[in-house]
């Protein structure tokens, strides 16, 4: 498989910024979109645009069947048991909110919620809201010196019989991978509900709901070569069916009168209002794109790129890397020693290098690492050795300028 040819499928990657070709190393924030995704969405608007599930006409029937076909595609993609377990959301953030707030009637004061210390705010703040509502207690699972979740501490916390364990699959800042399969099994053994934030895993790792056996798994279309505005909440049927709906109105309702309302069954029960139809169709095309590539080769290609990136950063000198392990996925967090991450970001941008610099919506992790912020370079299937070499060259220039 010739990965360098993939780039031609991504129109946004061919541009230059001033005198410099764009080097896009911000895929963890959002990936670029292949032509197939863009075409699928514009084709839908040009040929089929209609609301789903509602009208008796042919356009709506076409839109509905395309839309519902994506549910089946997602089900197969993550190896879920039933199509009703796939809920369309606007993204990971909405999905976690849907779960956390939907659990309000199942938790009570004193119940324990274990969270990932390296979590994105989206997997922290909804739980804080739930804790506030119910009186439940939040305890973060600490990190080891190597910035991995401390498994001994985790086992000790499990002895306190938590009600919920919420983890990220891959850290959005560091790229570290949690051993989620083992952690889920341990959590289930003490009767906890498990939620995995897969936003940073879905484009890079094989994600199999039967193998993982978690209660909830979430991801966003825009981080897997699909459009913004669409995400997936997977829930094990029984767990999903017990959630209180966060939003009400539209197709989620079975019957309404002023005396009372009954809700529809899954998946509609958790999908209020007109859904993002074109985005769902775009997500379907993104899955087609991912499945058109050989999984193993993609994984090897991305690991080789990440290794090169980590090694070249180390060679450069004067660079601090955070939690950079061989088995990481997709991203490297770093600082240029003694320099502000924002200065580095501005000077890289001058050279056409797109990285993200800041707290990456993971302030507790920044506090643990003792950092005000850091830079993150992240990779996609379209990234190349040349991207990495240009980035390293640009970082050399930044060093010279800042000295």
């Amino acid at each position: 498989m010739e990965f360098s040819q993939l780039r031609s499928q991504f129109p946004a990657l061919t541009q230059s910024l001033g005198d410099y070709p764009l080097v896009y190393l911000d895929t963890a924030a959002t990936s670029q979109k292949p032509q197939g995704v863009i075409d699928a969405m514009s084709r839908y608007y040009q040929a089929d645009n209609a609301n789903v599930h509602r009208a008796a006409h042919q356009l709506s029937a076409r839109a509905t069947s395309q839309y519902e076909a994506v549910r089946d595609k997602v089900k197969a993609f993550i190896n879920a048991d039933r199509r009703e377990e796939i809920i369309f959301t606007h993204g990971t953030t909405e999905g976690i909110n849907l779960v956390a707030l939907g659990l309000a009637s199942q938790l009570k004061a004193g119940d324990l919620i274990l969270l990932d210390s390296a979590a994105h705010h989206a997997n922290i703040v909804p739980w804080q809201m739930l804790a506030k509502q119910t009186g439940a207690e939040i305890v973060p699972i600490p990190l080891t010196d190597e910035a991995r979740l401390d498994q001994d501490a985790y086992r000790q916390l499990l002895a306190r019989k938590p009600s919920v364990v919420a983890l990220c699959h891959v850290s959005n800042v560091l790229g570290t991978v949690n051993p989620v399969k083992e952690m889920i099994a341990q959590a289930k053994a003490v009767g906890a509900l498990t939620l995995i934030d897969g936003a940073q895993a879905i484009a890079h790792l094989e994600v199999d709901m039967q193998a993982l056996d978690c209660d909830f798994y979430l991801f966003s279309g825009h981080k897997m070569y699909g459009p913004t505005g669409i995400g997936i909440l997977y829930g094990r049927y029984e767990a999903l069916d017990k959630l209180d709906p966060l939003l009400t109105g539209g197709e989620m309702i079975k019957q309404v009168s002023f005396e009372g309302t009954t809700f529809n069954i899954l998946p509609n029960r958790l999908e209020a209002g007109t859904p993002p139809i074109a985005e769902v169709i775009g997500l379907g095309a993104a899955i087609d794109f991912i499945q058109s590539l050989p999984r193993e080769a993609v994984r090897a290609h991305e690991q080789a790129l990440l290794k090169r990136l980590q090694a070249k950063l180390k060679q450069l000198g004067g660079i601090s890397l955070y939690g950079a392990h061989d088995d990481n996925v997709g991203a490297v967090a770093f600082n240029l020693s003694g320099e502000h991450h924002q200065d580095v970001g501005i000077l890289l941008d001058q050279q056409g290098i797109a990285v993200r610099c800041g707290h990456h919506c993971a302030m507790p992790l920044m506090q643990t690492l003792g950092l005000a912020g850091c830079c993150r370079a992240s990779l996609g299937v379209y990234s190349t050795d040349e991207d990495i070499d240009r980035f390293i060259q640009a970082l050399k220039s930044v060093k010279e300028l800042l000295l």
Partner: protein
């Protein structure tokens, strides 16, 4: 913004002079972006670092990814500023802003077109509201300080 008890001395305010005629040519005549950003970081060094005690929250300007602090004082109808940041390029950008306003009267400051000013210096992207560098927030705080203080 200066309701906090702690504030730099009057001498500190008037002691900071930034002469546009001397400063701006290194930007308008820069041969490339490297020279421009070097000039920016050099210029930033002219802003005396604020003492730790003055790096207080009440003086912090919101909307910056880096920390930035701004003090303002009006003396005989003229407006003086002191500012600092923990990021060097932001500090340079602040110094450029101050070059345009330090010691000016309210009317001059209110009439300034800072976008045009940055464009002319080859730094157009940096004052965009879509940036996280916070320079736009600083520019607005600088203008607001002049306009509001004279109302009192």
């Amino acid at each position: 913004m200066n309701d906090n008890k702690l504030s730099p001395s009057t001498e500190a305010f008037t002691g900071l002079t930034l002469d546009p005629q001397e400063i701006l040519p290194s930007f308008t005549q820069a041969a490339n972006w490297q020279e421009r950003y070097r000039a920016l970081m050099l210029l930033g060094k002219r802003l005396p670092p604020l003492a730790e005690a003055l790096r207080q929250e009440s003086a912090q300007v919101r909307g910056c990814e880096s920390n930035a602090w701004l003090y303002h004082r009006e003396i005989d109808g003229r407006h003086y500023y002191l500012a600092d940041s923990d990021a060097r390029i932001v500090k340079g950008l602040i110094a450029l802003l101050l070059t345009a306003v330090q010691g000016q009267d309210k009317k001059t400051i209110a009439a300034l077109d800072l976008h045009e000013y940055f464009d002319r210096l080859g730094l157009s992207g940096q004052l965009s509201p879509s940036r996280t560098n916070g320079v736009l927030a600083l520019a607005e705080a600088i203008k607001a300080a002049a306009v509001e203080s004279s109302k009192r």
